[in-house]
Symmetry: C2
Subunit: 330 residues, 2 copies
């Protein structure tokens, strides 16, 4: 008798792949960040993200934050596929003995995030749950883009590029699981952690700018299960090795971890819910990338290179890094 | 301190309406069976339905049946709006100590139902839940239809039309809650109850045929919270009184209830999950309705009439019937 915890989330997903008949004319293979079809010459994308409260809540988060995060999670997956969702629906389950004010907070978070992203919440489904509180957000985009970067197409020689800096959500995990009081942190670090975990922001701000180099992007993926796991997901999907040569780390996190003797690279590699964009680009077009970075002042960083088509691995400065990240049921 | 059980599901929905900013250019008002927008001259509809296992499972159902039902629920809402979903995504939460075979069953149900409806499952999100098992299905349609019947537009003098016959799911409730063994039922009744509850079918079969009279349909609604509640939902949305003069009742249910002294009209009015279509049509076009009924042999029945624009009520043969049906949190 096989239990879910025996095979983990990725094992479950593999089993599901064999059961559903994934459409052959989908714009992306099964298992990418989003999925969709071409319909009447338009690119129609539908994506769902969901969670149960028990598994996705730092001790300093309230239901407003969960609502905000649920929307951000979905939007982030569109952004890495160079799309912007236009409408969304929300379903949730909540025990009948929870307070109405909690639902109000949850929905204020959903509504405020949607507004931030210019996304309309057009419907939903209200359900009772026996114990857990759960929320599921589905969103749709419809546009005329011809090309959608997949996670299956990183090529040998490509540069690996990521947005943002790492370490904040890794430190948030560290603080949460070690039950450290947020009050003991320096003010600016505390504020960064609260911002990044309570009101994470999908990188819609990059969308228009990245469009200028879209045709050179060979693959892309959302960083939401930690940088290491994301790099492995990309490497496995594309059947390549990735050599990381630098990890952009938030300076405030660096200071704090140095002072407290915490391995900052571990935090940066094994965080999660960064909602940053990671993509590969043909190295011939590095000057085009540099141009938009400097022109718009983008926080995009070349962090490595794709090598060895045909062998999967992720190396950081010559050492193979362990594949590890967020996975349910384990 | 207000708890969810104090205001019920419909109360919660009203509160949410005030929080989200529903788009003014939506094809239907907030609170209809589905919602969507016109985009590039196309009608884009997105709809979600979900449930927690605890609340939606007769004792004779397995997870295959739950998966099947989850898809049917969503498709049914499209059908009453004269639409057919093309792609769907599924999110679910399941405790890690549940068997993999249960997830396999759940997804076989989802996949088989989707295949039945010609709907592609193009993605999903796998989550861990602490206690409950929950599933959420979101689907999208994209077509060129200009007009979408709402539940807000029933007009005085319209005929009220429903598909199918009632009583089976009401009897299923009766049997479930009174812990009656299915084995004690006559074979054909048992089979009808198993079919209608384990593998309910959204009325996609009616879609093409109803299109022929679509322009005469003034309003429509999905019958999924019981016939009485659905009629009240329609009456309240359209601000009208509905006079029912007959209820089509399944003959096998009628026989059984007569023999066992059960009030069959109660079962027919207060069932749930019938997934039948109910609509109103301008009485001038009754002959067009009759024509498609006889031409295609449709199981559509004129069951009543809309009266008294401006006063809400539902009467059956002159008596006001109680407003009562499935509502969460109560």
């Amino acid at each position: 008798m096989v239990l879910l915890r025996d095979i983990g989330e990725r094992g479950v997903i593999k089993v599901i792949e064999d059961i559903i008949s994934y459409p052959s004319d989908a714009i992306l293979p099964f298992g990418d960040d989003v999925s969709g079809l071409k319909v009447n010459g338009m690119r129609l994308i539908l994506k769902v993200d969901a969670f149960s409260e028990e598994f996705c809540r730092y001790y300093w988060m309230d239901l407003y934050d969960l609502g905000w995060k649920a929307v951000t999670m979905v939007v982030s997956d569109f952004v890495v596929k160079l799309a912007k969702p236009i409408i969304a629906v929300v379903s949730f389950g909540i025990p009948s003995n929870r307070r109405l004010s909690e639902v109000v907070n949850l929905f204020r978070g959903v509504a405020d995030a949607a507004k931030y992203y210019g996304l309309h919440i057009i419907g939903g489904d209200t359900n009772e749950s026996k114990y857990d509180l759960w929320i599921s957000v589905s969103a749709v985009s419809l546009d005329k883009r011809k090309y959608t970067p997949s996670r299956f197409n990183a090529q040998e020689g490509d540069l690996v590029v990521t947005s943002g800096e790492y370490g904040i959500t890794g430190l948030a995990n560290y603080i949460h699981y070690n039950k450290i009081s947020l009050e003991t942190l320096p003010e600016n670090l505390r504020r960064k952690i609260l911002n990044k975990t309570k009101h994470p922001v999908a990188r819609v701000d990059l969308l228009d700018k990245i469009m200028e180099i879209a045709e050179y992007i060979t693959s892309s993926i959302d960083v939401s299960d930690g940088l290491a796991q994301t790099l492995y997901d990309l490497a496995e999907a594309s059947n390549v090795t990735i050599e990381l040569n630098s990890i952009p780390i938030d300076s405030t996190v660096k200071e704090y971890t140095t002072r407290n003797n915490i391995d900052v690279e571990q935090l940066a590699l094994y965080g999660g819910e960064e909602f940053e964009i990671l993509f590969t680009i043909n190295s011939k077009f590095k000057s085009k990338l540099d141009k938009i970075i400097s022109h718009y002042g983008l926080d995009l960083h070349v962090i490595g290179r794709v090598v060895n088509k045909g062998r999967v691995g992720v190396y950081y400065r010559g050492r193979l890094i362990p594949k590890r990240g967020w996975e349910y049921f384990r």
